[in-house]
């Protein structure tokens, strides 16, 4: 269990480091995918979840029978294309 906790904390540090890298690097690194190149990303089949009500129900099914909880989401998917 301790190992699991340490794994989560380590991964969280990596994520936060990535966030900081992105935040601090914005001034020198330019967005590399141009708006006109986002046709595939904007396709509905690239949404992490196309139907929130339906996916919420499956999260509910699992959470009622499994101890894990949190970080389920992804309804909406995303690309910031518009």
């Amino acid at each position: 269990m301790l190992n699991q906790f340490i794994k989560i904390k380590s991964l969280l540090r990596v994520v936060l480091l990535l966030c900081l890298t992105v935040l601090t690097g914005c001034s020198s690194i330019q967005p590399w995918v141009k708006p006109y190149e986002r046709q595939n990303i904007a396709d509905p089949i690239m949404a992490f979840s196309r139907d929130p009500v339906s996916d919420n129900y499956m999260h509910h099914v699992f959470q009622a029978r499994e101890a894990a909880r949190g970080s389920e989401g992804t309804a909406g998917g995303g690309c910031g294309c518009n």
């Binding site: 396709d43 196309r50 499956m58 894990a68 995303g78």
Partner: protein, 386 residues
């Protein structure tokens, strides 16, 4: 025994939905500087497995106002008929109904999206209220979306047959997420959520068993009054060369009760023409037991905290899901743009490593066969976009 006839995990269902809703708020804003699309969904859901049947409708309506605000309302019902192993071995079968209503609003201001939601859920021995807030911001040429969220919930726990029984529990969720477009064909999402609970966290009906002479007896469960958990998920989507997508997801979970869990999911989406979309997915979940869980305690009051909820045991589950969706434009309709009809089927297998099947009586105490069951889930829904 009539008092405990309602033993099983449907008391926590409301609080679990609270987690789901708060998690989804996190995601909705992954879309960043775009309001959710106007739509209405009517879902019929059906679950059958382990002696439990649950079915009912869910209705969602969402409408935007002047491209700045989107409001939504959701109504959800669970009709439960339970003769699960817990109920069969310690009580008697029961039926019940749970109703949930929620209202929400999204506010968009340039590249910032704020979401608010309030939910109320009621059963005859349990009620839950929860409030959710999240904010997301697009930046870096809209390649990156950062989101944060907070939720708070208030539960009131009752007990059938004991009107004087009344307990409370409070819950707090803290969420952080980052979505990044990596290439013109791939994107990645990280999400982290910490949840803290405080109050009466166990099921007032459930019992643990302990060795008593040559057999066993039952006593009430006792859980700690606090629980804190962390979940970290990493998801990736990849657009395949022939217009199909592949999703990979890995989630780590850990809590202060000693439970650790891993979830791996792979999903494949394959469209055919402009109308049809087919979904395939496989999901593997593994968890280890809580520190205070045991299928059979050595004696009465063997330790401070006692649990025999199979949800807290060591087990794994495997899910295989398929789905089909048909969508069509409504060209001649004034007020509607399109509609879709969707059918999803999921088959789940649960295998428990230290939860035994007490329906088998002709074995020595503690040597009953391990429990396991299969469940089928059906989701049939109709959506209209306007």
């Amino acid at each position: 025994m009539a008092v405990i006839r309602r033993a099983l995990s449907f008391m926590p269902v409301s609080r679990l939905l609270f987690t789901v809703i708060s998690g989804c708020l996190l995601c909705i804003e992954v879309t960043g500087a775009v309001l959710p699309e106007d739509r209405a969904d009517a879902l019929y859901h059906y679950y059958s497995g382990g002696g439990v049947d649950i079915q009912g409708p869910s209705i969602l309506v969402r409408k935007s106002i002047k491209d700045k605000v989107s409001v939504s309302a959701n109504y959800y019902i669970d009709n439960v008929s339970s003769a699960s192993i817990d109920v069969v071995t310690t009580a008697s079968a029961y039926t019940e109904k749970r109703k949930e209503t929620s209202v929400g609003a999204d506010y968009l201001n340039e590249k910032t999206n704020m979401s608010f939601n309030f939910t109320q859920s009621d059963e005859n021995d349990f009620s839950a209220r929860s409030a959710h807030f999240s904010v997301s911001q697009d930046f870096f040429g809209d390649l990156t979306t950062l989101n944060m969220g907070y939720s708070q919930g208030w539960d009131e726990v009752g007990k059938r047959g004991e009107p004087e029984f009344s307990e409370e529990a409070d819950r707090r969720h803290f969420r952080l997420g980052l979505s990044q477009i990596l290439t013109k064909d791939s994107l990645i999402n990280f999400s982290w959520e910490t949840i803290t609970d405080e109050g009466f966290l166990n099921n007032p009906y459930r019992s643990v068993r302990y060795i008593d002479g040559g057999g066993y007896s039952y006593q009430a469960e006792r859980y700690p009054s606090t629980r804190t958990s962390d979940a970290l998920a990493i998801r990736g989507m990849y657009y395949l060369p022939y217009r199909a997508s592949l999703k990979l997801e890995y989630k780590l979970f850990s809590d202060t009760w000693g439970i650790g869990a891993d979830t791996i999911e792979v999903a494949y989406v394959h469209p055919m023409g402009d109308e049809w979309i087919f979904d395939f997915k496989i999901r593997q979940y593994d968890q280890n037991k809580a520190d205070f869980y045991s299928d059979l305690f050595s004696q009465i009051d063997a330790q401070n905290f006692l649990a025999r909820d199979k949800e807290l045991s060591t087990f794994s589950s495997l899910t295989i899901g398929i789905g089909a969706s048909y969508a069509e434009e409504l060209k001649d309709w004034v007020h509607f743009d399109s509609y879709s009809v969707n059918l999803n089927l999921d088959f789940i297998q649960f295998d428990y490593d230290d939860f035994r099947d007490l329906r088998v009586e002709d074995t020595a105490v503690g040597e009953e066969p391990l429990y396991g069951f299969n469940a089928n889930v059906v989701r049939l829904f109709f959506s209209v976009f306007y």
